[in-house]
């Protein structure tokens, strides 16, 4: 940082630095339409007025309420910024006046910052309605500034109105965007000259400082930069001078990066209440398209989704939880699962609002990235098939079985997640293929069991005696038996002369 002589700030750069070979280029977006967008809730909803309704947003400025944003219909009706509510209503009686909704504005801004992850890894929030992102390092990827701006315009088609500017420093870009100056300044040395005509109101100063500058007659940035530094520092504070230095690139500035949310939440209001699943699926497809795009930009997948369908009359909501067997990122697969689920669910009331929430993003497993379908199939069992079955039949309707190392027959198996690796097969006498859930007592005559006629016992006795340590001890003698019709059974009795029970069928 160069310390200029105290009494003057020269108009040109104090030293001639050779321009760095790869200069940072910051792109700033100032959403001047943000208050209006937040107030009118573009996704539809209870608050959304018809597009032809004049709408104005009010804010309390200096203890009076004034209009700070108007939509096109209101402009046509003759409403302008700065009017008081009474004045506005006098000019246009049907105007809708809403208060400024700052929390919603911040939420929309955060969502827009997440959307910019497509273009840059370094995105920061600059002020209350502007975003800056570092664009210089990936210019070659996008094919130049013009191509980048075109892609940005297409991506932000449904975003609130904005001004866009590019400059070597983040502060300068934000300043230009706030001033409505859509320029692309690539050379640091041109900064002073090109920023010169911007009004000082675009800077981030507190109202006291702004009044002071107004009283001094300083209107543009050029005038401001001519003032002596020490005087400025004394009157407006050293932080202000530091801000100016950062703006002009004489002091390095690292904006606090925005942390991209690793979850997805979105909701959509349907135009009309409906119980028709095809219309709900259309809305769901839009939400899933957004989710897929988000997942593509951060190379992630989701493990679980939660759909919420809300109705207004009566006020009910239906929550559908869809955990997935493997991380998924494709919208068509998720839409199919939702359709299966909707078929098995009856909607009690017509649905008005559909929301989608995902859990924390997970990384995509490498195995599933095969582009060749045959290869993916051969690489492992298809868990998507299980998801499909579970979507229609329910979570617990699809299970796997596994054998456990345990002597007691009823505990030697358990239901588990399909695909669990099997325990080692046990050597020993052959077990029946079907086990009864609980041993069923058999009628016995003269100590011989009977089921539909006398049972003929054969084979060796197998004695199982264990489990005394956890209160579920068994002490049984197992035999194989043959019914009159030739069916093989697995029966046991408790020695020495207990009841006979049937435990399995071969």
């Amino acid at each position: 940082m160069s310390i200029a002589p105290a009494h003057t700030l020269p108009a040109q750069a104090p030293r001639a630095d050779p321009p760095p070979t790869r200069q940072r280029l910051w792109l700033a977006l100032h959403f001047h339409g943000l208050p209006l967008c937040a107030a009118t809730d573009p996704d539809g909803g209870e608050r959304a007025p018809a597009p032809d309704t004049p709408v104005a947003v009010l804010e309390t400025v200096a203890r009076t309420q004034r209009v700070i944003a108007v939509n096109a219909a209101a402009v046509r009706a003759g409403i302008g910024n700065g009017m008081k509510p009474g004045e506005a209503r006098g000019v246009c009686p049907v105007i809708r006046l809403t208060d400024r909704d700052r929390p919603r504005e911040q939420a929309i801004l955060a969502a827009l910052a997440d959307a910019l992850e497509e273009f840059s890894a370094e995105v920061a929030v600059a002020g209350e309605s502007a975003l800056v992102m570092e664009a210089g390092r990936s210019l070659k990827l996008f094919g130049g500034v013009r191509a980048l701006l075109q892609r940005l315009e297409e991506r932000l088609r449904h975003a609130p109105d904005y001004h866009c500017a590019l400059a070597p420093t983040a502060g300068a870009a934000a300043l230009c965007a706030r001033g409505g100056l859509s320029v692309c300044i690539e050379d640091m040395r041109q900064l002073r000259s090109r920023l010169g005509d911007l009004p000082v109101t675009c800077l981030d100063i507190e109202p006291r400082g702004r009044d002071l500058l107004g009283a001094m007659g300083i209107a543009t940035l050029r005038d401001l930069l001519r003032l002596p530094r020490r005087g400025l520092a004394r009157r407006l504070g050293p932080a202000f001078v530091r801000q100016l230095d950062e703006l002009l690139g004489e002091r390095p500035h690292f904006p606090v990066p925005h942390r991209f949310t690793r979850r997805f939440t979105a909701c959509l209001h349907l135009d009309e209440e409906t119980a028709d699943s095809s219309i709900i699926m259309q809305a769901a497809n839009r939400l899933l398209g957004r989710l897929e795009r988000r997942l593509r930009h951060c190379d992630s997948a989701v493990n679980a989704l939660r759909w919420t369908l809300e109705a207004t009359h009566p006020r009910e909501r239906l929550v559908l939880d869809m955990p997935l067997a493997t991380p998924a990122w494709r919208a068509d697969g998720l839409a199919f699962l939702l359709r299966l689920r909707l078929e098995s669910v009856t909607l009690a009331a017509p649905v008005r609002r559909l929301s989608l929430a995902s859990d924390v993003f997970a990384s995509r497993s490498r195995r599933q990235q095969h582009g060749i379908p045959g290869l993916a199939r051969a690489a492992g069992q298809d868990h998507e098939f299980i998801d499909r079955l579970r979507a229609r039949l329910g979570e617990r309707a699809v299970r796997g079985i596994c054998a456990l190392p345990e002597h007691r027959p009823e505990h030697a198996w358990s239901a588990c997640e399909p695909g669990t690796a099997a325990a080692m097969p046990q050597a020993g006498p052959a077990r029946p293929l079907w086990l009864l859930p609980a041993p069923s007592p058999l009628f016995a005559l003269d100590g011989q069991p009977r089921l539909d006629g006398a049972l003929r016992l054969y084979g060796d006795t197998e004695r199982i005696r264990c489990g005394w340590w956890d209160g579920r001890g068994v002490f049984r003698d197992y035999r194989q038996a043959l019914t009159r019709r030739g069916q093989r059974l697995w029966v046991f009795h408790e020695p020495p002369a207990g009841r006979w029970y049937l435990h399995g069928v071969y």
């Binding site: 098939f385 325990a423 079907w434």
Partner: protein
């Protein structure tokens, strides 16, 4: 391979057979809804050995047909002779695909299956609540190529349902086993193989009621000892 080598082939072209006649004969033989007794149908479907030599001898190709349904009719009150299909299932469990069991009457006992060499990690147990859900699940499993075999226990499926399931099995090249009570033997069915099993002291007596491209047989004795079971 013809089942009866000595019999003359009724469709052999004799002397003086015109080309038009040959074309008509070929079209006739290739129709899928006609099977000619005594001739093996010229299909390229694979078969999987049943594990029983005496059964393999009478099934065309030498085993259960993949990509088609096999009906196994059993006496009522029995869970179905799963052990008839077991050697084939053990072989299929070596592949990287599911073996789906849909609506089994009881839970198959995992240690028994593991003890006979099956990889129980490939088994999917599906318990649908409604019949329509059960039919849907069976069709999905047969049609998708993620299942190598589907075993299902449906109550009295009619011929239309079976035909639909047969088409699904063809699409997915899945071996389908339909277990039903023997009372359904009189009903017409489009399954590729229909087999009735009556339990016997050392195994079962099997009647092949119908097999595509072969003849019906009665009273084939299959023993547990044939497949090495005690």
């Amino acid at each position: 391979m013809s089942l009866d080598p000595a019999a003359p082939d009724p469709f052999a072209a004799g002397d003086g057979a015109s080309p038009a006649w040959r074309v008509k004969r070929d079209c006739f033989l290739q129709r899928r809804d006609i099977t000619v007794g005594g001739l093996v149908e010229p299909s390229a479907r694979e078969v999987l050995s049943t594990g029983f030599e005496s059964l393999d001898r009478y099934l065309p190709g030498g085993g259960w047909p993949l990509g088609a349904l096999t009906e196994i009719l059993t006496a009522p009150g029995e869970p179905g002779c799963l052990w008839l299909a077991l050697p084939a299932l053990v072989e299929l469990s070596r592949r990287q695909q599911w073996i789906a069991m849909i609506a089994p009457p009881r839970i198959p006992y995992a240690p028994a299956l593991a003890g006979r060499g099956m990889d129980t990690g490939k088994i999917l147990l599906v318990h649908p609540r409604a019949r329509s859900d059960a039919l849907w699940a069976v069709e999905e499993a047969l049609r998708s190529d993620t299942c190598s075999s589907v075993l299902f226990w449906l109550h009295g499926p009619d011929n239309k349902t079976l035909r639909r399931l047969q088409l699904a099995a063809e699409q997915g090249n899945t071996l389908g086993f339909c277990f039903r009570p023997a009372a359904g033997a009189g009903q017409r069915s489009t399954a590729a193989v229909r087999v009735r099993a009556t339990p016997a002291p050392d195994g079962a007596l099997v009647d092949i009621l119908k097999v595509r491209g072969g003849r019906a047989r009665r009273d084939l004795a299959l023993r547990y000892a044939d497949i090495g079971y005690a």
